[in-house]
């Protein structure tokens, strides 16, 4: 009797002729998530079976697999020869001692002598006789014992369905450049987009010496947490100190954020082109801060020429974002109190509704391409 983990996927079955492609990528992502743990993964039809692992590491494996996008549910199962006595021994291990239950058999191997209903009745009957505190409820049982008779002469017995991360396998929906600050929102935005199958690169802007090393380490940590879901990612770090100084010197104070964001977008687009990413992803949420107005977005979108800017959080409340941030495990890191873009240059009254023409006029006072070139030269890339 071997302990195995069944991984069921979602949505891939919708993909028709592309299914093989999706399945291969998903398989790779599962393998990547289990790096460092001895295991084997088989792919019988419609699911994956993780086996040949050390049973003492079951929980760790489950925790890692739960973060792989594309996973619908997981079950820890016993794999036994397709023999009624063997199956019952496994059922004894997974079945509850009390409460209501039902047995749900699925017979893929039609050579098995009993059909599904007969298996349900036989196993259910034996359990009832053995455990008097149990009762049967076939409509809304507290527990369900699943028996899956496979075509290869084995059966899988399990009782629990663990919810996976859902979504699509990372790598099946292209590649995006996420603007990763140290805040609460951007990691959540990254998580949402990665969940739809997009491979992520992250770009972080710092303004040392106005920001400190702790702030940068915090962003690296956020990227590490995101990477658990995305199967690794690249973190690109760019210094925008001189851009901020130039804006501060030459442009109206209230335009600092508006103009800085335009620079960030230009740099993100350039870098996206360089690494082969097809869109920019930001954590903006409509109206959350002064720069996140529709006018602010218009002004920053205006400099992005060749790709869409995705803002998955645009319609979310802060409380909803915080909830998601807690769920994915980035909240505690996000709230560490280090400033990301230093408030030395923060205007007292940032422009809420920037007019594109005025913004462009203000920007005319800057040597945009030289500033971008200098910022790009500060690029450091970390593989996480």
């Amino acid at each position: 009797m071997e302990r195995v983990i069944i991984v069921r996927y979602c949505e891939i079955h919708l993909k028709g002729k592309n299914r093989g492609y999706f399945e291969r990528i998903f398989m790779n992502n599962l393998e990547k998530a289990l790096t460092g743990i001895r295991h084997e993964i088989r792919r019988p039809s419609g699911r994956y079976i993780v086996e040949a692992f050390d049973p003492s590491r079951t929980e760790e494996i489950i925790a890692r697999l739960c973060k792989v996008f594309g996973t619908h549910t997981l079950s820890v199962a016993y794999q036994v020869p397709a023999d009624l006595e063997e199956i019952y021994r496994a059922v004894q291990l997974v079945a509850p001692q009390s409460g209501s239950f039902k047995v749900q058999a699925n017979r893929a191997d039609k050579r098995f002598p009993l059909h599904s209903m007969q298996i349900n009745a036989e196993i259910g009957g034996r359990l009832l006789a053995e455990r008097p505190a149990l009762c049967v409820d076939v409509h809304v049982p507290q527990n369900t014992v699943y028996i899956d008779i496979r075509e290869n002469g084995t059966a899988l017995v399990f009782s629990e369905l663990i919810k996976g991360a859902g979504g699509m396998p990372v790598g099946t929906s292209g590649r995006g450049m996420l603007l990763l600050s140290g805040g609460i929102d951007s990691p959540v935005a990254g998580h949402m987009i990665a969940k739809r199958g997009m491979k992520l690169d992250c770009i972080h802007f710092h303004s040392y010496p106005y920001t400190n090393m702790q702030a940068r380490e915090k962003v690296t940590e956020l990227a590490r947490i995101l990477a658990q879901y995305t199967g690794g990612l690249e973190l690109h770090v760019i210094r925008v100190t001189h851009i901020q100084e130039a804006i501060h010197k030459n442009c109206p104070e209230e335009m600092m954020i508006t103009l800085l964001r335009r620079f960030m977008m230009r740099i993100a687009e350039q870098l996206a082109c360089r690494v082969g990413a097809q869109c920019i992803v930001t954590g903006e949420s409509l109206g959350q801060v002064a720069s996140q107005t529709v006018e602010g977005m218009t002004s920053s979108n205006a400099v992005v020429r060749s790709m869409p800017v995705l803002r998955p959080l645009v319609g979310f409340d802060k409380t909803e974002i915080i909830e998601r941030s807690r769920a994915i495990g980035t909240f505690e890191t996000s709230i560490l109190p280090y400033e990301d873009c230093c408030t030395v240059f923060l205007p007292k009254h940032p422009l809420i509704r920037p007019e594109l023409k005025k913004v462009e006029a203000a920007e005319d006072r800057l040597d945009v391409s030289a500033l971008i070139e200098e910022a790009m030269a500060s690029l450091e890339t970390l593989s996480i």
């Binding site: 010496p209 920001t211 400190n212 010197k249 109190p337 280090y338 400033e339 408030t343 030395v344 240059f345």
Partner: protein, 372 residues
């Protein structure tokens, strides 16, 4: 690198490390052990205790080894402020301040005496806060941010004159081995730390007047007369003893050297940018300045890049952005934002101070220009 953050920690005295290393290696024995080798370590430790105590206190005091200055402060407060109220100052190190806040949570009333602009306590305000229920007064000896020296002999005698049974504690971490101190009998408890004078981290001391009754903070095997359980760190203790011997031997001479540097920096900093916060009477080991309108941590990073390591009183952090002590000195946020703390070691060279001075002026001017 030119290291000017010696109030944070000092480089360990390497001669003292060499002399004490045998207590980490061959003489590793537990000083409580009953065999000869253990007893020998015990004797060595008692010698360290006696020698360290002799630096600062006449007869009538005893020395309890702790693991840090913070632990000594905590033991002093939690032992003596058990009822009524505790009177302390707004200029305390976090080890006293946070311990006092914790006592407040546990139902002890805590009264904070005001500071003067230089960071020393307004002693009239402190005395006015005493009453029949005051159980403990704690006053820092040398303020760790401004270097301001509180005249603890005078303050403690005023406190004892008010009511002799009020316990008096002082945090002497920035004073021990740096300025001359002889503990008067009006002081009941005094905390010190090794790593501010060439000792290594992991050892401190709580000096206690002999007849004063102290409660342990850590219970266990009954070491340190039951006042501080835990197997003693005999290597750190011996290294502390040797480092202190060096430091005390040259105390007056060091003070003179450091005073010259302190004065040089005071005179040499660009007065259009920097304002000196430490008073003339402060410990010359600590010099606090503010660069008005600039942010201390940004300057710190620029100096770091220029090879100068200094401390700061502000941070690029949304929490604890300004130093509590600096605000208590009456600084507005603009000045509190620009605080830098230079703290010297007597082992520095004249040239280093000159270089640091030039770098400070250059970095501040550059930052002022960049953020104008």
């Amino acid at each position: 690198m030119i290291y000017l953050d010696n109030a944070a920690t000092t480089a360990p005295d390497s001669e003292a490390v060499s002399a004490a290393i045998k207590y980490l290696q061959e003489q590793f024995y537990n000083p409580s052990a009953l065999y000869g080798a253990g007893f020998a370590v015990h004797q060595a430790m008692e010698e360290a205790r006696k020698n360290l105590l002799a630096k600062i206190a006449p007869d009538g005091f005893e020395w309890i080894f702790t693991a840090s200055g913070s632990e000594a402060d905590n033991q002093a407060l939690f032992s003596s402020a058990r009822r009524g109220n505790l009177v302390t100052t707004e200029g305390e190190h976090a080890a006293v301040y946070r311990a006092a806040k914790e006592l407040e949570n546990r139902g002890i009333e805590v009264r904070f005496a005001k500071l003067r602009a230089d960071g020393s306590v307004d002693s009239d305000d402190l005395i006015s806060k005493l009453d029949a229920k005051t159980s403990l007064v704690s006053v820092i000896h040398v303020n760790n941010e401004t270097g301001a020296i509180n005249d603890i002999a005078q303050i403690s005698s005023k406190v004892k004159a008010y009511r002799p049974n009020i316990a008096f504690h002082s945090d002497g971490v920035q004073a021990f081995g740096k300025i001359p101190v002889v503990l008067p009998r009006t002081i009941d408890l005094y905390s010190v730390s090794a790593h501010k004078i060439g000792g290594i981290r992991g050892v401190g001391g709580l000096i206690k007047r002999k007849s004063f009754s102290l409660h342990p903070l850590i219970f266990g095997g009954g070491q340190e007369n039951g006042l501080r359980s835990g197997t003693e760190n005999t290597f750190a203790i011996k290294q502390f003893e040797f480092a202190a011997a060096h430091k005390f031997a040259s105390l007056e001479q060091d003070l003179k050297r450091v005073r010259v540097w302190n004065e040089r920096v005071r005179q040499g900093l660009n007065p259009e940018i920097f304002e000196i916060l430490s008073s003339e009477g402060a410990s010359p080991y600590i010099l606090s300045v503010t660069a008005r309108g600039l942010r201390g941590e940004v300057l710190l990073h620029m100096l770091d890049d220029a090879g100068i390591q200094v401390g700061t009183g502000s941070a690029c952090s949304s929490k604890n952005r300004y130093s509590r002590v600096m605000l208590a000195c009456g600084l507005d946020e603009c000045r509190a934002d620009g605080v830098l703390r230079l703290s010297f070691s007597a082992r520095q060279k004249d040239q280093e101070i000159e270089e640091a001075l030039q770098a400070m002026n250059a970095c501040a001017a550059s930052l002022k220009e960049r953020t104008r």
